[in-house]
């Protein structure tokens, strides 16, 4: 039973979403189903927060590897929630409002929450994102090893696209003399890059996307018809 009801809900709402795409009067019902999901997902934040606390408290109490990070996580979590909920540093925005911190938005510029976001969270995220460049370099180093014909072709193509993306026209034009007045500039590597991206890459991506679309249809049918319940824990 604990599986039957969720499957029924998934089937009914899934069918509704499909039918509503073709039938305009059903659009409000579709919107309502989407709103329900948002409500459920919002409530689940409490579940996630509780799990986060329990998980890290257990790690600290068991002195597991990296328990210090758990302590940092919990302290940061508590401080951020407190600063956000208590609206520390928030000032009333206009004369009409009650002159209490609660009357301003918690993300107000200059507030404690805004400060945490601006000067702690944002730099940390930027730092993480910046690391991606190094990961791309190390992955490219392995992928472009010219060990066989396919790898050599991949390496040559990658080099063309890489050089073609640069903005240095002297490199991308292969040091050719500038074109005569009135004629369009010819930039061999940049043009070749565009040709590769628009022709080969687009063709390959579209082939994959057609396969994905069909895969989505088949998977959706498996879910709507209740054939595959493994995502709910399978049959009882």
């Amino acid at each position: 039973m604990s599986k039957t009801v969720p499957v029924l809900i998934a089937s009914i709402v899934g069918c509704l979403m499909i039918v509503a795409y073709f039938s305009p009067p059903l659009l409000p019902a579709r919107q309502m189903a989407e709103d329900w999901f948002t409500i459920v997902a919002t409530i689940a934040i409490f579940l996630g927060g509780a799990n986060l606390c329990l998980h890290h408290l257990k790690k600290i109490s068991d002195r597991e590897a990296g328990w210090g990070f758990s302590a940092v996580t919990l302290i940061s979590f508590a401080i951020t929630i407190a600063v956000g909920l208590l609206k520390i540093g928030v000032v009333p925005e206009s004369e009409q409002q009650i002159k209490l911190a609660w009357s301003g938005p918690f993300q107000q510029e200059g507030s404690g929450f805004w400060w945490i976001y601006q000067y702690l969270f944002s730099p940390i995220v930027s730092t993480m994102f910046a690391l991606l460049a190094f990961y791309v370099a190390s992955a490219a180093f392995r992928a472009f090893r010219a060990k066989n014909l396919e790898a050599i072709l991949l390496l040559i193509t990658a080099l063309i696209v890489l050089v073609g993306q640069t903005r240095d026209r002297e490199i991308t034009s292969l040091f050719l003399p500038p074109p005569a007045e009135g004629t369009p500039p010819y930039v061999p590597i940049a043009d070749l890059t565009e040709f590769i991206r628009k022709t080969f890459v687009t063709a390959g991506q579209r082939a994959i996307m057609i396969g994905i679309a069909l895969g989505v249809v088949a998977t959706s049918l498996r879910i709507l018809l209740g054939l595959d319940r493994s995502y709910l824990g399978g049959d009882e």
């Binding site: 009801v5 709402v13 995220v125 069909l214 249809v217």
Partner: protein, 350 residues
């Protein structure tokens, strides 16, 4: 004709019968439902749930219909501009369902082997031999994404294998709802493997919704615990390469799969096996080995065949368009290409 139940006490049925003759009429239509099942609270609860759902979904529809009725415009129940797309959807769905039914009736279908899926047991076995844990990441999106659902379906199979070998399986999630679903899937897999004690809910936990916070936590865990096998199956964005490179650095065998075409090259470059797009959706059916689900894969293949035919026809039409003279409209302007009409009007629904 009415519905009546037989006397209480005996094995009861609800039978569709003809009141006047007292005999069962329309034998072919007469049906019986076990009262034992129908009468249970579970069934009533199911029916109530369905009723409530239908009512709540119908309510805004009826309200909308009333609003329309007030105006001069008639209610349009079907958007005719989307007819071609609706027919295409119907044809694909019908093909998939027919193939499923054929497979159920015993028709054998050949499904091509997928290297990444064949390697899953090898990856779990390797982790068992090395005495190290397995990492499973079901993407960073919520359960409403079909990629996440596909990832959870595969998780069920991986968890069953891991339970059979008694190898720890770590499932960090970035959404609380995904965590709940993953727990259900792993618990059921442990039961199916005959190892209910294997299930440890502490290993399936929520980290954060924030993309890079999640990555930092998972990568940190990977560097500390050094898992022997990593599975990345779901919806991924920029974090794909972080995870795959971290797995590579700790020497784990890695199997990844996503429907995000922009992330596939990263997985291909950094992982041992990659499930490309549709293979991710086929994985669960493939691993289940059930005829009905394998039949669906065959239906998917027929859909692909149809797409190939349409692509070839489209290419031929576009070529013909480019070499044949085009007609002119009343104002003397060139008429749009036929292939353009198909793209804009038929496929995009106007």
């Amino acid at each position: 004709m009415d519905f009546h139940s037989r006397s209480a006490g005996e094995k009861e049925f609800i039978t569709m019968s003809d009141k006047s003759s007292g005999k069962p009429s329309m034998d072919s239509f007469s049906f019986s439902v076990s009262h034992q099942w129908f009468g249970t609270g579970l069934m009533r609860l199911t029916m109530t749930t369905v009723g409530v759902l239908v009512f709540l979904l119908a309510l805004p529809t009826l309200t909308f219909a009333e609003e329309i009725a007030d105006s001069t415009k008639p209610i349009v129940w079907f958007d005719t501009g989307k007819t071609a797309f609706a027919l295409l959807t119907f044809a694909i769905c019908a093909t998939v369902i027919i193939c499923t039914e054929l497979a159920r009736r015993g028709k054998p279908f050949y499904v091509r082997p997928i290297a990444g899926l064949l390697a899953m047991e090898e990856a779990v076995g390797r982790a068992t031999e090395m005495g190290k844990p397995i990492l499973f990441v079901p993407g960073i999106e919520d359960i409403k994404e079909i990629d996440t659902v596909a990832g959870l379906m595969v998780l069920s199979s991986v968890a069953k294998m891991a339970a059979e070998y008694d190898t720890p399986l770590e499932v960090p999630t970035s959404r609380a709802l995904v965590m709940t679903a993953a727990r259900e899937a792993v618990q059921a897999a442990a039961l199916a493997a005959g190892r209910p004690d294997y299930y440890n809910e502490d290993r399936i936990h929520y980290i954060t919704d924030e993309q890079f916070g999640y990555v930092a936590s998972v990568c940190g865990w990977m560097y500390r615990e050094k898992p022997a096998a990593c599975f990345f199956l779901g919806k991924f964005f920029a974090e794909s390469l972080f995870l795959a490179e971290a797995g590579n650095a700790v020497g784990a065998i890695q199997i990844a799969g996503t429907a995000e075409t922009t992330q596939l090259p990263f997985f291909v470059a950094a992982c041992d096996y990659t499930l490309l797009g549709e293979e991710l959706f086929a994985a669960s059916a493939y691993l289940s080995g059930e005829p009905a689900q394998l039949g669906m894969l065959k239906g998917q293949d027929f859909g692909k065949l149809g797409a190939i035919v349409l692509v070839i026809l489209g290419c031929m039409l576009a070529t013909w368009d480019s070499i044949s003279p085009r007609g002119k409209n009343a104002e003397g302007q060139n008429l749009p290409r036929r292939s353009q009409w198909i793209t804009d009007t038929v496929l995009k629904g106007g």
